[in-house]
């Protein structure tokens, strides 16, 4: 689930669970999940051993319900991949397992990890059949968070320089994806949530990103990461932010989740009128 989706954006938690149910999956959410640790590890404040212990714990909790993890957050997704791929050669596997064994936890290092966006893409025809609303030609800018496709490009759906699967999903939902020059640029969060903290660099990155989307005619943005959503939605007014939703929320809106329609306006700074008035 991830910390941000659970605490700040429960609309994502709600929509992900309800849409996966409607699409025939059996999603499970556990209150026992801890932070993935990715933010602190990437900032140099948490070593790999501690990071792997967090992943090990979460994999143990998840394995009691399923053998597949559907991440809502690009950083959580990337953290699972990082630990699963690097643990074997890291020399800390035994120590991590020993630490977790003290509290009776047995990590499941072989879980399959997907981003929830990939799952929606794979069942897009079913979404199309079940949809109760349509994007009616709305012009949509897709933003994949850096942590989805940059650290482990071989795991992403499509070539990193030309990932297009969310655009296809948007088309399936009746929207019009826009091609914009700065598609692969960071949202700007990297400078704000980092030990290299630089507010000006962060805002400038966000400004360039938003300007590029606007120039291409985007009316709304779709993201795959709650961190990116927060950065783009809370951008200062002078940067002319656009309405932004997480892919799980978009699918929820199209599948007609009434509670989501009621709650979403309160979960955003920028009005979602173009999406809610369809």
């Amino acid at each position: 689930m991830g910390c941000l989706a659970r605490a700040k954006y429960p609309t994502m938690e709600y929509s992900a669970v309800e849409t996966l149910k409607l699409l025939g999956f059996k999603p499970a959410v556990s209150r026992e999940e801890v932070c993935c640790g990715g933010l602190l590890h990437l900032s140099g404040l948490m070593d790999f051993k501690a990071l792997a212990s967090f992943t090990g714990w979460n994999s143990w909790i998840a394995s009691q319900h399923a053998q597949t993890v559907a991440a809502l957050c690009d950083t959580c997704y990337c953290t699972y991949l990082h630990v699963f791929k690097e643990l074997k050669g890291s020399g800390v596997k035994e120590e991590v397992e020993k630490a977790l064994a003290k509290v009776g936890a047995k990590p499941a290092w072989n879980l399959k990890v997907f981003h929830v966006a990939e799952i929606y893409y794979k069942v897009r025809e079913k979404i199309s059949r079940l949809k109760k609303r349509d994007l009616k030609g709305l012009r949509v800018a897709v933003h994949h968070g850096c942590h989805y496709f940059k650290p482990y490009p071989e795991e992403a759906l499509g070539k990193p320089e030309s990932i297009r699967f969310l655009e296809e999903l948007v088309e399936t939902l009746g929207g019009q994806p826009v091609e914009y020059a700065e598609k692969n640029l960071c949202c700007g969060a990297c400078y704000a949530a980092s030990t290299f903290y630089d507010k000006d660099a962060s805002l400038e990155t966000t400004r360039v990103k938003l300007a590029s989307m606007r120039e291409a005619g985007a009316e709304v943005i779709i993201v795959t990461c709650p961190g990116c959503l927060s950065t783009l939605d809370e951008a200062p007014a002078r940067l002319h932010p656009l309405p932004v939703v997480h892919v799980s929320e978009l699918v929820g809106l199209m599948l007609g989740l009434d509670r989501l329609v009621e709650a979403l306006p309160e979960a955003r700074k920028v009005s979602l009128k173009p999406l809610l008035n369809l």
């Binding site: 659970r6 605490a7 429960p10 209150r31 501690a50 714990w57 309160e266």
Partner: protein, 68 residues
């Protein structure tokens, strides 16, 4: 700057999550359990393994180096 990330680190050490305070009003509206925080017994276990892998020691070192 350490100061920009310190609240996240402290949150993890105290609650097991980087963002620990949930939007209860919105959760109620969505009919989700109001309090998504870790159950007490789970948090106790999490603190045990965090200690075992040296996270509290590491945090103390960071506080000494950067202040706070």
């Amino acid at each position: 700057m350490f100061s920009s990330l310190k609240p996240f680190l402290e949150n993890i050490l105290e609650t097991g999550r980087v963002v620990s305070v949930a939007d209860a009003r919105l959760r109620r509206k969505l009919k989700l359990p109001e309090d998504p925080s870790l159950p007490e017994e789970t948090l106790r276990k999490v603190k045990v393994f965090m200690g075992e892998v040296g996270l509290f020691r590491e945090a103390e070192k960071l506080r000494e180096i950067y202040g706070g």
